[in-house]
Subunit: 355 residues, 2 copies
């Protein structure tokens, strides 16, 4: 069996490694000939508009998927017309636009944080008045890892924030202002849905960010309110069923502090793909998110999402510490992505496993 993957970054690389183990060939596609998945599997190099190159990707493929939500819709749609492509293009489209994403989440009972569409500086002023400060202004499209967003702390920040994200050029820009909500933790839920509609959830994960980049994940554990978790999981399952979603979906949530909402979970965003906060599953779940994503898109039985040991995941950002030092930590599993070191770039992660 062969699976084509739009994107050849570390997520494509880890999909390929899961495929190697299963005897499934994973073929990645990337405009960059140095994309790190190419070190471990076949890589088709081409622009996303190059249908001859896309044709080489999908040749003999049993299924096509993608490893990042900013893959051009047209490229995914071109593949979907020719080969079964999962997750559904509608999920991809929704994930590419923060306003659409929030509407979709809300439609399935996953209440997003307070937010308003902003298309001009006066609209930004109105939104600040309605939502209050601090707040964060984000581009509706194209942002990731803290890029394409500005925090507003006082009203005087409005012109600068608008200039930074909305002011450049004469073209129409869609931004969204999101209110800061008090939250105790950021939690993510990873769920996989098979072609037959079966849904399996991984245990919830608690994430810590620095400068908008995930730095550390660990089990959310028993602190999460089980009833609230069940409610949110039902919402995620409903959202997936509504889209005919097949594969892994990540939903990021804010856990409200007990004093304000009783541990209620507000939806932040979703990613229609395998996700950084699920990397622990390679080392500490019965079946990893990568393998389960491949199983799902190929129509194979889903694997167990059960956690098999304690774990903590830390991203390696900018550079990989000297192996002599890093590998001395007991129970540490290194995942190096084979990427050039660069400030702010995710170049690897480690999972420390316990009993």
């Amino acid at each position: 069996m062969i699976v084509g993957v739009l994107g050849g970054g570390q997520l494509g690389r880890m999909l390929a490694l899961a495929g190697h183990r299963l005897g499934v060939r994973v073929r990645c596609f990337d405009p960059d000939a140095e994309a790190c998945a190419g070190q471990v599997t076949e890589l088709v190099v081409g622009d996303y508009g190059d249908t001859a190159a896309l044709g080489r990707l999908i040749d003999d493929c049993d299924a096509v998927t993608y490893e990042f939500e900013n893959v051009p819709i047209e490229a995914a749609a071109w593949c979907a017309e020719r080969v079964e492509t999962h997750p559904a293009i509608t999920a991809l489209a929704a994930a590419q636009d923060r306003m659409e994403e929030k509407a979709l989440l809300r439609a399935h009972g996953l209440e997003p944080v307070p937010h308003m569409l902003v298309e001009s500086e006066p609209q930004l002023r109105e939104a600040v008045e309605a939502i209050g400060l601090p707040a964060v202004l984000k581009t509706c499209r194209g942002g990731y890892d803290g890029k394409g967003q500005v925090v507003l702390r006082e009203a005087v920040d409005i012109p600068t924030a608008w200039a930074e994200l909305g002011g450049a050029g004469g073209e129409r820009v869609r931004l969204v202002l999101e209110g800061f909500i008090a939250f105790s933790r950021e939690i993510s839920l990873l769920t996989v849905r098979g072609k037959g509609g079966e849904v399996r959830h991984y245990d919830p994960v608690c994430n810590e960010h620095e400068g908008g980049i995930l730095v550390r994940s660990h089990p959310a554990g028993e602190a999460a309110d089980p009833a609230e978790l069940d409610r949110v999981r039902a919402g995620v399952a409903s959202l997936m069923a509504g889209l005919g979603y097949v594969g892994v979906l990540a939903v990021e949530l804010f856990e409200r502090p007990d004093g304000r909402g009783g541990g209620r979970l507000s939806a932040n965003e979703m990613a229609p793909r395998v996700h950084n906060s699920g990397h622990w599953t390679i080392d500490a779940a019965a079946c990893s998110q990568f393998e389960n994503h491949l199983r799902a898109v190929l129509g194979l039985p889903l694997g167990s999402t059960r956690t098999i040991c304690t774990w903590e995941m830390r991203n390696l950002i900018g550079h990989i510490p000297a192996a002599e030092e890093l590998l001395s930590e007991e129970g540490l599993r290194l995942h190096a992505y084979g990427k050039a070191e660069k400030a702010g770039r995710k170049v690897g992660h480690v999972t420390v496993v316990g009993e």
Copy 2:
């Protein structure tokens, strides 16, 4: 970092996959262009006597190792003269000859089963008289997975057994007759030794064979006598230190039933490499035998050999069952080797992990 591996079968493939995760390039060498490691990593194709091809293997390598003990000594020695090569050639030489192997094991307190060298039919008769029947006649060199051996149950089997293994052609042949000993279980010990001399043992494994081929492994658990285990582990550590051994070593042992020897462990054979009975470590140990072997030969800190969850390993022999059925088993992890299906051939394994 780059590690060259003599041999491109499933062990080379799994070394390569461990390398991908660590960011270590593993380059395999095999006379067969279809060797299954080539599906997941760089493969140099050449005969073991082809020094130009061997030169391509070792180019820029930080270390060279091998994935089967029948690799021609000359090829390994050629590499060792040019690049650090582990485990030591002396270990490889001993493992290639059952008589040398037994002498080495005995020298370190690992008592082998009763055995005698057999170089003629009269010698076979003498050996049968000394050792008794049933017994098993084996070629000193070149056998694996039950090949190159014949079981003798009665004295009338002697001529047939000799004809099968010793009689062909006029060349001198070295065989060994091994007595059957009563044993309750076959146990294997996997041990890794680093360049600095540090030794780490994995938990002992109980193996089940059919027709000379390993079919199933599971944790030996508490049944093994701890004092006897400590004694054998000390012998293994002594053997490794004596050889300046670096990397993973597998030692197969027979556990005598309590009535005859009180759980004493007799050495059967050793393999100076990663071993089938250690495949479970990919899924159920903090650091797999493959990663630890790479860490050792590269002089990196050894990883934890601790077992992190319950497990059972089953070999897939001859063919891989339909994915739909196989993958339905909860907690099952499939490792497919990408090899053509053939009766008696190991084409994959599964590990079923528990809590």
